[in-house]
Symmetry: C2
Subunit: 382 residues, 2 copies
Amino acid sequence: MLKRYLFAPGPTAVPPEILLELAKPVLHHREAQFIEALTEVRDGLKYLFQTSSEVIILSASGTGAMEAAVANLLSAGERALVVAGGKFGERWAEICQAYHIEVIRLDLPWGAAVNPADVQATLERDPAIRAVFVQACETSTGAAHDVRALGEIVKAYPDTVLVVDGVSALGAMDLPMDAWGLDAVLVGSQKAMMLPPGLAFIALSEKAWQRAAQATLPRYYFDLQKIRKDLEQNDHPYTLPTPLVVALGEALRWIRAEGLAQVFKRHRRLAEATRAAMRALGLSLLAEEAPSDSLTVVRVPEGIEGARIPKLFWDHFHITIVGGQDQLRGKVFRLAHMGYVDTFDVLTMVSAVEFVLERLGYPLQWGAGVRAAQEVLARPLD
Amino acid sequence: MLKRYLFAPGPTAVPPEILLELAKPVLHHREAQFIEALTEVRDGLKYLFQTSSEVIILSASGTGAMEAAVANLLSAGERALVVAGGKFGERWAEICQAYHIEVIRLDLPWGAAVNPADVQATLERDPAIRAVFVQACETSTGAAHDVRALGEIVKAYPDTVLVVDGVSALGAMDLPMDAWGLDAVLVGSQKAMMLPPGLAFIALSEKAWQRAAQATLPRYYFDLQKIRKDLEQNDHPYTLPTPLVVALGEALRWIRAEGLAQVFKRHRRLAEATRAAMRALGLSLLAEEAPSDSLTVVRVPEGIEGARIPKLFWDHFHITIVGGQDQLRGKVFRLAHMGYVDTFDVLTMVSAVEFVLERLGYPLQWGAGVRAAQEVLARPLD
């Protein structure tokens, strides 16, 4: 018997009920049943993004949506500020450079969250900055940047937009786009949305749509204005993965039924339980200062070869977790608790941490992590 | 009871056995089982493309792969020749223009196939042309361009590449990339490959890879060199839709088991049967001169409102077919017979044409189309 557990920060586990939607006969993108599904999905996405703007649907990974943000909001030679505190912050810089955007970097130690005052100071010093690129949650480090504070700051600059990569945040942590004045928020389907990879989404504020109308970087497949025009007619210029859109409809119904407020509370509690468990085991978190609620990134204890941790998770328990990337390779392991995750999933991953670390010679008291998690999880959700 | 038939030129019907692959638990893109699937898929794609080059896998629609071709093979201000004989020829021109490529158009009446001598003459006249963009099958008109002859011609120009949109041809018609000297061939998953939309593929010749190394148009998500480097390690820089890749593995096994030669013969016969049926009903084909084997585009008979044909197909029989696009709106209807299509599917679509046209007042003899199709389909495949 092989029972799998997928606790990676994307792709994440998908409920069997939603997977079965994918096995239904393929709908044509212009038949009535699909148009009905798309209408409902457009509405559900606005709920999820907490916006009144149209949420643009792309057949792409999250990186495609990141590129769409750059290509639609900037013109060649313009200047952008990139919060670089992990692999995905670096990705913003790389995309900007590919498009000949002048990048001003705000470098952080990996694991740290940006100090909003530093962004403000940079914007004050350099009025030519036209966009600020940041992650709501930096998936490589588990740090949550204070995008709410950044929204407040960037709002004061009429010619500058705040672009938020919400890939591992949206649907797990509160990210009310309109209320916080975020100019662009994007996400991929395979994180907190309980879907397989294959769709990406991006919504723009009115300020951002105005920039898009003027920005001259080349784009075609990712031309958001063209897609918006079609979506508003329940159409799309390119063939969408229709089964995934149908499954998305089901996932959005689940999210609505639970209610966003409840979804965020659930993730908060799962995260708090995981953090409490790791601390109870004497482990320390990489993003101690501003940990995200969607994944917990744990430092590999001294004397243990980091790469062995995910390997043992798989070899002994068929649990997929991942280690660190780039400069964090071998130094951390990452436990994702976003999307289709409940109390017992967290207890599973915590007890597996105990099993694996014990096997690697780490001194621990059986059940110390699980007990700490239970104490948090036993508290009522409200 | 609602029994659906999907005879649109994409998305096309997917076998239930392949749909069920999509309902299996999501694999992580770096776990052994997925890497094994990807290894097999890479090999199967080379078989399908009839190439020894790496076939690049993109999470995108076919248009994404078209954009990848432009962005990886050209530099700003360079000149390209576009064969414009339908909606997708126009799309090549639009993408080139979005990237500030100077477009030389070879305009054709919609439904015509390009005369290779015209391409040769244009290349001779204009040595600055760096790429020729064409469709193997123009999905909007059903015309098949003679890309084999174009391969012969472009081969003589060391600084010019031939880029073939194989979206509704690859897997239905013989398109041996290496043997015919095609420099780039691309396709989407939702046509002859028996898969839902969500994946696109593009392969480059050695000549094209050399151009890609020098071409300077901006690209990031579609940077084919970067993706190739990772794919060669059974990795990918961006999260692939893992369930679709697993399903692709199954589809490629089906194609291999049938054998490409047999697959092409099957499509040829289904197409011949459809064409014979339409002629027997007194209807005429738009692409009379060089009809493709993947879809048949039929002129709407005089006196009949074209838009009513697909509508009646759906309303009475739950069959999805599509009409014409842009300048062909209301003037044609399109019957696709690519991918998961057999003898009885063709008889179904032909008899539905009879039912629908009769209802619209078109004079016909019951069964005349079906009989003509049967006569073709009764012939042995070899």
